[in-house]
Symmetry: C2
DNA sequence: TTAATATATCAAGATATCTTGATATATTAT
DNA sequence: ATAATATATCAAGATATCTTGATATATTAA
């Protein structure tokens, strides 16, 4: 039950649904790119990424000073179904902007 | 997005997950039976039923002074997948008790 | 080493949700 | 009509979640 509720509460927020869909659409992105793309302050993005990661939707790969987030793979069937349902929502997403000085 | 979040927030609560699973397992039940089975006060049960109904999971049939709640049918694929996932949780449910003077 | 950059985390106020007890409405029994 | 029963709804306190701004940590550049 706890894991189920953690999974559900992770997607019970419009911002996180958008971030999840954005990553599902654009593939691996770093925090500063999400910051720039969504025009949200860093602590906000960071917090939501943590929740999505701990709910099993995302994975992180730290390379240098960047943290790259992507859809966790393999993903269990239920989370896949959730991603599919979110894809069907056809949410308007911001365009991918690079926010880091690379 | 609004309908999606309404669906998700409806199952983002342990009490409602249990009630939903209970109805899925026992079939049509009235409010007083849920009250007796879960040992919860009536306003609490009633509120959760309303949320589950408005999220599209339940339907009500009023007969006499009773309100009988059951799983809405037909149920769209996504809500079916959610019910299936909840069934897999193997939650310990209370036994069905009749709480009404019928 | 010092500065700059990227990310994470914490504290506090704002907002939303849950529970309870009281009350309202509707149906049936007397 | 009056009383009893079943359900719905509201108000208020308790609890949880979200956002922001400040600060901490880690990596790279100068």
């Amino acid at each position: 039950m706890d894991i189920f509720l953690k999974t559900i509460s992770a997607i019970n927020d419009e911002t996180r649904v958008k971030i999840l869909r954005f990553i599902d659409t654009n593939g691996e992105v770093c925090v500063c790119d999400l910051e720039a793309s969504f025009d949200m302050i860093q602590s906000r993005i960071s917090r939501h990424l943590k929740i999505l990661k701990e709910a099993g939707f995302l994975r992180v790969d730290r390379r240098g000073r960047w943290a790259y987030y992507s859809i966790r793979s393999p993903l269990d069937v239920f989370r896949q179904q959730i991603l599919k349902e979110i894809a069907h929502l056809e949410i308007a997403l911001p365009s991918l902007k690079s926010g880091c000085n690379r």
